[in-house]
């Protein structure tokens, strides 16, 4: 039986290879002037060569290469669908190297040492109804097989359009922290090393989680202050508020950039004022605020907009901000421009015309970074060289409504 199956499978594989060779001939005839060979053409050539050499096809389950600085994780919440998707992309070759499934409005995380990626997620026993289960899942980044599945008691997750800093890893990647909104603000502590849920920490009316050490994180509070929370090894957490650092009518966006390695929190407002806070000393040090736009530009309607509107490159100390001319209250509409700003001086270094409607931006943390510009409408990731402002490659067909770009600061 097995033998018969193998024969059929081989026949099918040879059939595919024959088709590939025919397609290759057509492509070579039609596209010989093309500057660069596409992945499809290269694969067709290789398959044709294998076929000509009589090499048998031997299907296997592939492994992705280990995570590097240019592994891009794109999360697609699919416009609030019950089932969501992750795409793992190699930024150098602009190829999808893996996918993973998620539940309802997952919060993705990527380990800073590349040892895992994962999510806090939610599933229901009858697709979108029935008993609800919240859980944390860690996956092996090469096989995408689960390496931990930890249930969260009493469905504590905050179901919200994906804000990356509503779920965070501590710098040692041993603890995952997630936010609970209702019935009261709290942060859940998940022991990844011990593969178990630890406890909920009650907090005041504060939002987002920015771990500054393995047992300390900061939050942003309704009154405009930050809250420092000591997780407490003995189970006794401690909290302390900072000064109020912004006015009540300065609206800070839901997608600040945070570099856990440098402790830099970069937080733009609706008008492009950028607050920067240095958390590296385990106390909040407020740096001088930056204005991304001049008063004249603001009068012309220039303002930030999109989903992940800001990215921060640690080594070069640069801020990348999506901006465009827009009407008031259109802050979630995509932007066609990217503003590169020196975080230290506040000086604008470059204004890149992206030529696409971009909702989210990310940056690799290597020395010569790539810029990742994600279009929810196009369902495509455009990869730029931020130095030249040139688009170098793109990846399309990324689900239904991809919104979140994540990289690992390795």
């Amino acid at each position: 039986m097995t033998h018969a199956y193998t024969k059929v499978r081989q026949a099918l594989c040879y059939g595919s290879a024959t088709l590939g060779a025919a397609a290759l001939a057509a492509l070579i005839a039609a596209g010989s002037a093309a500057a660069a060979e596409s992945h499809g053409v290269a694969t067709a050539k290789a398959a044709a060569a294998d076929l000509a050499a009589g090499k048998a096809d031997d299907p296997v389950v592939l492994k992705a290469a280990p995570i590097n600085a240019r592994r891009v994780f794109v999360y697609d919440p699919k416009h609030f669908a019950a089932i969501s998707q992750f795409y793992m992309i190699d930024g150098d070759t602009a190829r999808v190297v893996g996918t993973a499934d998620g539940g309802f409005l997952s919060n993705p995380v990527v380990a800073s040492d590349g040892s895992f990626f994962g999510q806090a997620s939610t599933v229901y026993e009858r697709i979108a109804r029935g008993k609800r289960t919240d859980y944390v899942e860690l996956l092996d980044p090469q096989t995408n097989n689960p390496i931990a599945d930890i249930e969260l008691p009493n469905s504590p997750r905050f179901l919200v359009g994906t804000y990356p800093w509503m779920t965070a890893l501590t710098p040692n990647n041993k603890t995952l922290l997630f936010y609970q909104f209702s019935p009261q603000p709290a942060v859940g502590v998940v022991d990844l090393a011990g593969k178990k849920f630890d406890r909920m920490i009650e907090v005041p009316d504060c939002y987002h989680i920015f771990p500054s050490s393995n047992d300390t994180f900061f939050m942003h509070c309704r009154d405009g202050s930050l809250l420092k929370v000591g997780i407490g090894a003995d189970g006794k957490s401690q909290t302390k508020r900072t000064e109020i650092f912004h006015k009540e009518n300065e609206y800070l966006i839901n997608h600040p950039a945070y570099s856990p390695k440098s402790g830099r929190l970069v937080w733009p407002t609706y008008t492009g004022k950028i607050f920067q806070i240095d958390l590296s000393s385990q106390d909040a040090k407020f740096l001088p605020a930056i204005e991304a736009f001049t008063d004249a530009e603001k009068k012309e309607g220039w303002a930030p907009g999109g989903w992940q509107q800001v990215a921060y490159h640690r080594e070069s100390d640069r801020i990348f901000l999506l901006g465009d001319q827009r009407a008031a209250s259109k802050h979630k509409a995509p932007s066609r421009f990217l503003f590169v700003i020196d975080a230290k001086t506040g000086k604008r270094i470059n204004k890149i015309e992206l030529k696409h409607e971009i909702d989210s931006v990310g940056v690799s943390q290597d020395a010569k970074p790539q810029l990742y510009a994600l279009s929810t409408g196009d369902k495509a990731l455009y990869i730029f060289d931020p130095e030249t402002g040139k688009e170098v490659s793109s990846v399309n067909q990324l689900g239904a409504g991809p919104q979140v770009v994540m990289t690992s600061d390795m």
Partner: protein, 119 residues
């Protein structure tokens, strides 16, 4: 029409029956002399009130933003008591049948907190 009226009556009966069994009882009409709590500026204006067992508290929303009163299940509260969203000038009354301290929030604004101490 009759079926609709019947369904509405049944729903009202079910809700009352569910609450009447516990320490908290949502009541259509608060008895005279019940304690008033105004809701304004994203706050319960009297965040802590003290009453005698058997008396009631009436909440009145005085702003355009809808608010409610939500007692989560816990010690002394068998099941969640989640009041309806109140629009401007609408009221909601709860009679407290047993002594204890009853914490509550507003469902969509969990930073709005209040407490009823029943002696």
């Amino acid at each position: 029409m009759r079926a609709l009226a019947f369904a509405a009556a049944l729903a009202a009966f079910s809700a009352t029956a569910a609450l009447a069994a516990g320490a908290l009882e949502a009541v259509q009409e608060a008895p005279a002399g019940s304690t008033e709590v105004k809701i304004a500026k994203m706050k319960f204006q009297t965040p802590e009130v003290r009453i005698k067992a058997g008396s009631a508290v009436t909440w009145t929303n005085t702003e355009a933003l809808p608010h409610n009163v939500h007692f989560k299940s816990g010690p002394g509260v068998e099941k969640d008591v989640e009041g309806p969203m109140l629009r401007s000038n609408q009221t909601y009354s709860v009679k407290f049948n047993a002594p204890g301290t009853y914490d509550y929030i507003c469902t969509p604004h969990p930073f709005m907190k209040g407490k009823v101490v029943v002696e």
